[in-house]
């Protein structure tokens, strides 16, 4: 895939129908602009990393990508629909196609880990038998089999992040957005989780991971064609080969 780096720090990946498309987007929480003039096209099947110093706006950009925040200016389209025109119900349907791992993983604290992981199935009414076999396999893959019946407040920090990742991919969504999914996880386990995401990517899913862990990025780059984006000074840049 050819790649062009514009002078205005826009990253454009040529190809048909980006699943997530931000055009000249700016965002501010009320004070000064946090993000300015961001253009980002996520083609189906692409794999991106998002880095930048703490507080630069990685989480904010991810929230723009699944409609949790609405751009102050510019246009955001998800699956070719403009976010501005969407009703809450449209947005709910879109969310079923995007798996999200939040930086602070939140769960329904009164349901077991397994139930939490299968929550997307429950909510969309696809809570069937075939899925339950997948569920078991997935829980095993993220190493939570011994804790499947526990309640989320009884999990360790790393276990929470693994459960959140499992919940994000259970529906095999078109896009996976993961915000620091390995912040509390040891090296071996994070390699294992990445292999899951790489596998999904090879099945054609689009992946975007925000992280500050450069070793992780380096490890993935040997296995898959991943691009690294960097936020600095309110703009989005394509990081060079120095990574």
């Amino acid at each position: 895939m050819p790649l062009v780096r514009h002078s205005k720090a826009e990253i454009v990946v040529f190809g048909e129908r980006p699943v997530i498309n931000l055009e000249n987007v700016a965002y501010s929480y009320g004070g000064g602009e946090l993000l300015s003039d961001i253009t980002l096209k996520l083609q189906p099947g692409s794999f991106h990393f998002l880095t930048g110093p703490s507080g630069s706006g990685k989480t904010t950009l991810m929230k723009l990508c699944y409609g949790a925040l609405t751009a102050t200016s510019g246009q955001v389209t998800l699956f070719e629909e403009d976010v501005r025109g969407m009703s809450r119900d449209d947005l709910a349907l879109i969310r079923r196609r995007i798996g999200v791992v939040h930086q602070d993983c939140q769960f329904l604290d009164h349901l077991s880990v397994a139930e939490n992981i299968s929550l997307p199935l429950m909510v969309s009414g696809r809570d069937d038998l075939k899925q339950s076999a997948n569920l078991k396999e997935l829980i095993n893959w993220v190493g939570l089999s011994p804790r499947a019946g526990a309640l989320p407040p009884e999990l360790s920090g790393g276990e929470r992040q693994r459960a959140a990742l499992a919940r994000a991919v259970i529906m095999s969504p078109d896009v996976v957005l993961a915000d620091e999914p390995t912040g509390n996880i040891d090296w071996e386990m994070s390699q294992r989780l990445l292999r899951l995401l790489i596998e999904l990517n090879q099945m054609g899913r689009t992946i975007l991971i925000a992280t500050h862990d450069l070793a992780l990025i380096r490890a993935v780059k040997t296995q898959v064609q991943a691009r690294v984006l960097r936020i600095s000074k309110r703009r989005l840049h394509l990081a060079g080969a120095d990574l």
Partner: protein, 300 residues
């Protein structure tokens, strides 16, 4: 969704949705307690309204019965004038019956003043005619004029000036009963709304998780509504049971005690409190629905 559609969906709907809301918490007890307390009070207000209704009727009819025509005439004319007056009363609109009291009844009325041994025939006492009214009652002014023309010795004592304030007082008591029912209903709705909002605010994390995994707002709202409707219903059932129990334990109606002891329900009226729990459930449903929609709309 329209109220009707959402009611239908709610009753038919998917019980799984309710599971995604945490089952416990003190808002449960608050809702249950408020619903129970309010239902308890509602039972009493209802009893008050029904009792005052009966009281107003009784006072009205008792006082109506004491309308009288008093005929003072020389002994020879007494019978004739009484006859004329009775005939005249029979053709008067608003008079159900008119009846001359016999000697025994008259002496019974006078007994407190003269003692039991009164020889009524020896006294020049007037003849009393008791009038029982019907409907709106008779036109006192018109009746007086006709009596003056045809029965010179007749005096109409229609007691209107005594009856009016008493019946007014009973009506006011009944109004007070209905008003307090309205107040109680409003307070219940307000409390359930507040409890629902407290629950929704306390479950902000639940809501954000559900939204993250693609739940529609109607799904989330329904889960909360189900819980609160159910709790209001259960609470109201408890309150009505306690209230009816308390009323059943009040001393039975007692002619001497008058108003208060007649506070209980009578006969089929015992069935009326049964409508309170469904009403409370409906109030819970509507209140939670409003609270949930508002909260969900406001949450980012």
């Amino acid at each position: 969704m329209s109220l009707r559609a959402s009611l239908v969906h709610f009753i038919a709907g998917d019980p799984q949705a309710a599971r995604v809301v945490p089952p416990t918490g003190f808002t449960v007890w608050l809702t249950l307690f408020s619903a129970a307390a309010m239902a308890f009070l509602a039972v009493f207000a209802l009893a008050l309204s029904l009792a005052t209704g009966r009281l107003a009727e009784r006072w009205g009819s008792e006082l109506a019965r004491s309308s009288t025509v008093r005929i003072s005439a020389p002994a020879g004319q007494m019978a004739a004038q009484t006859e004329t007056a009775l005939k005249l009363l029979k053709t008067t609109k608003g008079v159900a019956r008119a009846r001359a009291l016999d000697a025994d009844e008259q002496s019974a009325l006078l007994e407190p003043w003269f003692g039991p041994g009164l020889a009524i025939d020896a006294l020049p006492i007037p003849q009393l005619i008791e009038i029982i009214e019907e409907g709106e009652g008779f036109d006192a002014m018109g009746l007086r004029l006709r009596l003056a023309a045809e029965v010179p010795g007749a005096v109409l004592d229609d007691h209107t000036r005594w009856r009016r304030p008493l019946v007014q007082a009973a009506a006011r008591l009944r109004l007070l009963g209905w008003l307090s029912l309205l107040l109680i209903g409003g307070a219940t709705a307000a409390m359930i709304t507040l409890a629902a909002k407290a629950a929704l605010a306390a479950n902000a994390q639940v809501i954000s998780v559900l939204r993250l995994v693609g739940a529609r707002d109607s799904y989330i709202a329904r889960a909360f509504m189900r819980r609160f409707t159910w709790r209001s219903f259960i609470g109201a059932v408890l309150g009505v049971a306690l209230g009816c129990g308390a009323i059943a334990m009040l001393p039975a109606a007692d002619p001497g005690g008058g108003f208060l002891t007649g506070l209980g329900f009578q006969g089929l009226h015992w069935l009326i409190p049964l409508i309170i729990p469904p009403l409370a459930a409906f109030a819970g449903f509507v209140a939670t629905r409003g609270a949930a929609r508002k909260t969900l709309k406001e949450m980012p």
